[in-house]
């Protein structure tokens, strides 16, 4: 199964749309609730990152019997220092975004903690690609 979503930068009212849809699908196909939670947290954070930082982005979610694979491609400012961005508490979010309770420097660390495989590729001035893989088979 494959799903695609488009996300507009700055559109906070629809942040969470992709996560919510994917949560429903995973529930319907009886995926372990613990796995669903991990997918939802990772996808939500990645969605919010596009809304908070990028101009726009596209999300692709591919669900196979073994795993959930999520790819997010955005066009935006990119990440200058990926290593720093992965640190808890580091944030470049605007004051408006922070006032809403986002931008606490927890997004990428939250994704990392919930993903089995997580890669970030970014080019400053162009955009960022995240790939998140979460296994749905119980491998301890």
């Amino acid at each position: 199964m494959e799903f695609k979503f488009h996300v507009e930068g700055g559109d906070f009212t629809s942040a969470g749309t992709a996560s919510s849809q994917i949560k429903k699908v995973l529930k319907q196909i009886n995926i372990d609730p613990i796995i669903i939670k991990r997918v939802v947290v990772a996808l939500y954070e990645a969605e919010v990152n596009i809304v908070a930082h990028a101009h726009h982005g596209d999300i692709k979610v591919k669900i196979t019997p073994q795993q959930v694979y999520i790819r997010l491609d955005d066009e935006g400012p990119g990440i200058e220092n990926v290593e720093k961005a992965m640190q808890k508490g580091f944030s470049t979010a605007s004051s408006k975004v922070r006032e809403m309770g986002f931008g606490a420097g927890m997004g990428l660390p939250n994704i990392k903690e919930n993903a089995d495989i997580f890669t970030v590729r970014s080019e400053v001035g162009k955009g960022t690609t995240l790939e998140i893989t979460i296994s749905t088979v119980n491998n301890g």
Binding site: G16, K37, V40, V48, M100, G101, F102, A104, M106
Partner: protein, 110 residues
Amino acid sequence: MTVEQISQQLNLTVFGGNKGLNTEITGGYTSDLLSDVMGFAAVGSVWITLQTHKNVMAIASLKDLAAIVLVKGFTPDPDTLAQANEEGIPILGSKEQSFELSAKIYNLLN
């Protein structure tokens, strides 16, 4: 203890999401950072916060939280309230600040 019981005992305002008033509360989480709640709040928790915008409902729904309580007399934004009603997740309010309210809810639950 259900959302309704806590609401009655602490004299909370029920803004909306009444369909979920019978939901059992299993714990609580107090935070105004959305990623903190997203990462760490447990299913069935009541979330105590001063954030009033629509994204709080997205998080409450995604994390299967029992209810949201807004502190210090804050009221939900209209689109927040609309989503609370749609999802059936109660959004409540209190005049008290987070510390006091958290303590009272903690005492009721423990």
